[in-house]
Symmetry: C2
Subunit: 374 residues, 2 copies
């Protein structure tokens, strides 16, 4: 891990042997893309496909493209509609067609400009086109700090999310803080949910930082935001570099996700934002900690922190406990009355427990429901 | 490289670091699949998807499945129509659906039973399903000895062949010589074209072996066939292990393929079998050798050998030289009047030349056309 000594720009190295790559975080980076491509030796003759989310395309694609063209590159733009439904095999096929029509060759690059959806989709195009071409991520959401580390790319199948995919690491990630200014406030809050998660699983000091700087973080103060993205990415990078293919350690990144995914599934995707769902899930995991005999303050602290960031800490009214439990069972993280959960032992430290009684989970889900007046 | 000391069964290790795998060659292997899966520690609880080519499914799938079931595995069979048109994103989607419906998990295995088409298609399913599951190849053609080494898997796009794919190495390859007995004679001859190619690029002794044993090889004498598949796979394995991602050396495997692919494209795929097209292409490359000042005997020997195996050595009548040249240009292996070719320096030795004048190629193509009465 390397940190450039500058309040303006941070650089984090994700250590994955020959697949290592840097994450650049700072203001004004879009306009420097061309120089960066040159510095890193991307060949000028190889055409570039820029895959942009429709929500941010008009605002940011022109600057990015102008920078690349100025440096001598040929860029073709493809726009995909915002939202999870774009992560389909049909859209994948359309982008492969676009890549072919734009004349992309084996030395070409696919750029993802947008949030996690575009990153996953364009990343799978980069992983598969001619059996793999260069990939560059330009995240425009806070949440995408999570998906920009780890190389997981995928599209959905009508029967299952993220079922068709690959591990394909980017050449680098360009996190231009200016592009976050247009984020709706609800997405800002939701993004910080994953940021805080990285603190909760690994780094109590960083949790304190988020706590103390909450106001500045929510106001997108560049230095605080840059630091939070850097630290969030760093935790994920450490975990991923120790377990690239998700064999064991990487599972700790799923803190809050078992309940969170179930809530998303029951809600219909989109009703609850991902960060909102996992915030509730993390409160649930913290309550599990208490059942395992760890401090009751973990749940109280977790809840207080998420409230401070304006995130939900209760399951919205009208959700059926049975439906939530069924969705978790479908998630396959259980066997014979026991479920697998990432459980905090303290703020900043977790363990994976395979012995969580289903009844504990049910009672916690019940307890988290708003109608219970908690 | 390891060779078991048995005329009955041969084992070749493809050296790719942690992705290394064995190729087992011998009679009666289908019936031993279950034991092999157990020996190699494939988990019993993880369902298996068997993807079978319709041409061989009825004949060989039952034996393979019975062996796996006997060993305690759960197997679901998916049948795909024979032929290149099955290498589509639509068929890929159908197989992902089949995998989901069969309950495949991250520890599951996809088996390809058939030739190169099923290997490429099922291999890409294995590469992408849940970001990659185990893959086992059970080739039932001689030609597939080529695609069973190297891990290249892919489907086609309507605008380009093999454009959507991955590098995904199998856990092992099970080459049951008994399954080759049902091969049509034309496919036998075509398969030997790639076998001989591996001799021509790397091993003059093996070319002599093929020459001397031609009759027994064509009669599918098990020991001769087993040896030829072993040696053919070995050459490819050496080349691939030195250049897994096709950066340089691996290009020598394309001997005869520049002209060969162009002939296939002009013919419409299927009119000329792949092995037939590249046999003609290899004669063309050998004639290029003469132009570069290497022995004229290379072309004569190459031609004699392919004739001995009943393979075509001339471009069938009615093919337009312009169309063939255009197809090669499309192949991108050219720049400014020069083309890239794999050129033999002697039998068993090749070099990659980037300085092949387009006119030389055109004159050789002209000279190879049947109507010229050569």
């Amino acid at each position: 891990m390397l940190m450039a000594d500058s309040t303006k720009r941070r650089e984090l190295q994700v250590d994955l042997g020959e697949r290592s790559y840097p994450i650049l975080i700072g203001p004004g980076l879009l306009a420097e893309a061309g120089n960066l491509f040159r510095e890193k030796g991307f060949p000028l003759k190889a055409p570039i496909l820029l895959v942009a989310d429709a929500a941010v395309e008009a605002r940011y694609a022109p600057t990015l493209e102008a920078s690349l063209r100025q440096a001598g590159y040929t860029v073709t733009r493809a726009v995909v509609p915002s939202g999870e439904q774009s992560k389909s095999l049909e859209m994948f096929d359309e982008l492969i067609t676009a890549a072919l029509e734009a004349g992309l060759d084996r030395k070409s690059t696919v750029i993802a400009l947008g949030g996690g959806v575009v990153g996953d989709l364009a990343g799978f195009v980069a992983a598969s086109y001619m059996r793999g071409v260069r990939f560059v991520q330009v995240p425009t959401t806070i949440l995408a700090h999570d998906s920009s580390v780890g190389g997981k790319v995928a599209v959905n199948h009508r029967l299952a999310k993220n079922i068709i995919g690959a591990f394909h690491q980017p050449e680098f990630v360009l996190y231009d803080l200016d592009t976050l200014k247009s984020l709706p406030m609800r997405d800002v809050r939701s993004g910080y949910s994953e940021v805080i998660k990285h603190g909760l699983i690994w780094d109590a000091d960083f949790v304190n930082y988020c706590d103390e700087r909450a106001e500045r973080l929510l106001a997108l103060d560049p230095d605080s935001l840059g630091h939070a993205l850097y630290e969030g990415c760093k935790v994920k990078a450490i975990v991923v570099s120790r377990d690239e293919r998700e064999n064991d350690l990487r599972a700790i990144l799923n803190l809050g996700h078992t309940i969170g995914h179930a809530l998303e599934a029951v809600a219909g995707y989109g009703e609850l934002l991902h960060g909102e769902a996992i915030a509730i899930g993390m409160v649930g995991s913290a309550r599990l900690a208490e059942k395992f005999g760890y401090g009751a303050d973990i749940a109280a602290e977790t809840e207080r922190l998420f409230r401070k960031f304006g995130l939900p800490v209760r399951i919205p009214g009208g959700y059926s406990t049975d439906a939530i439990m069924a969705a978790m069972m479908h998630d396959k993280k259980f066997s014979e009355g026991k479920m697998v959960f990432v459980v905090p032992k303290a703020i900043g430290e977790v363990e994976i427990r395979g012995d969580v009684p289903t009844e504990w989970v049910r009672s916690i889900v019940e307890g988290l429901k708003e109608e219970n007046g908690v």
